[in-house]
Amino acid sequence: MSRALWTIFRRDLALLLQGAPGRGGAALPLLFFLAVAMLYPFAVGPDARLLARTGAGLIWVAALLAAILPLDRLVEPDLDAGFFDQWALRGISEELLMLLRILAHWLSFGVPLMLAAPLAAGLLNLDGAQLQTVEIGLLLGTPGLAAIGVTISALTAGLRAGAALGGLLAIPLAVPLLIFGAGSLQPGGDGGLLLLAAASMAAVAIAPFAAAGAIRAGRE
């Protein structure tokens, strides 16, 4: 069983990192994230103090939107192609499959975002302390964003306009992560990081069950 799961995880990760025709890849959310960070100074002007004060919050908004980008390819292509049915026939639990997919999704968008954050911090004139808080926040918060993303993908797979609907559904669920993540950047915001970790962990704990339930319900 563990060998089968490892094989499935490697495929999940390869598809999400490199993409496939019609599936994009890890580069797209990353470029989107950097593009937002780059455009913001153009839009609000080069006031270094304003950028430093608002930039970290903007990083969180960009991270949330970047997490929404790959929603339509997290679950639906494999559902359409019959992969989930074949896995079910082999007795592989949907909960485990969804946990693997959350992990693969996080590795393909959360980790690249953390690697790109210093670049975004430079564009937004954040100092070292702010960057450190952003990085810790992303480390704690992006697993939650990945869990929410996979759950929403499983719920909307097979629906018409599922991708657009998925984005709309993911935003309110991700609001607590955004509030605590951006809040941790305020002076004395360490409590925000703790709450961020709690919200993120709750999402990761619930998501495999919710997403697996959605896959099974979709078969009826």
Binding site: R3, R11, P21, A81, D85, L89, R90, R219, E220
Partner: protein, 191 residues
Amino acid sequence: MQPCRLAAYDLACRRGDRLLFKAVGFELHQGDALQLAGPNGIGKSSLMRILAGLLRAYTGRVEHEGQRALSDERPALDAHRALGEALAFWQRIDRAGEARADFGLEDLLDVPVRYLSTGQRKRAALARLAASGAQIWLLDEPLNGLDAHWGASMQAAIEAHRALGGIAVIASHQPLQLQTLRTLALLDHLV
């Protein structure tokens, strides 16, 4: 081959608010083959998914001993990968031997799945099923897209599987040339 058995008792299937069929029952033992027959839309594929455990029956129950394998219209092969790699993915999961030789796929292993024809994709999916080592084969329209030659090869593969003690359930609207084939006409089970 491990002992296997597939039995259905008093199955009924509801899709939406329509009852498709009722009182479907049978019992299959080693070496048995059953054809599900009937016109389009009568519920052959739904019955197949109930037998596979993917769909809940409205009433009744399915009992099975032995591993089930399903081949339907979705091959579950990565379209952008070479056929050999796409099949190797399932081989690693199934940990089973290779059984491609019967399906003439040797020359296609380097070809990306999206460039394969319908019949070639079908053959690949059937090769995957044959290689999976499952005792109970559930074949939903296995002859679709296959020409006469490969259709005959497919039926020969089913016969070989039965000779080893396997079970085959075949949903097809085409006549099959299988020995001692039982037929379940879903028209007799309309509501």
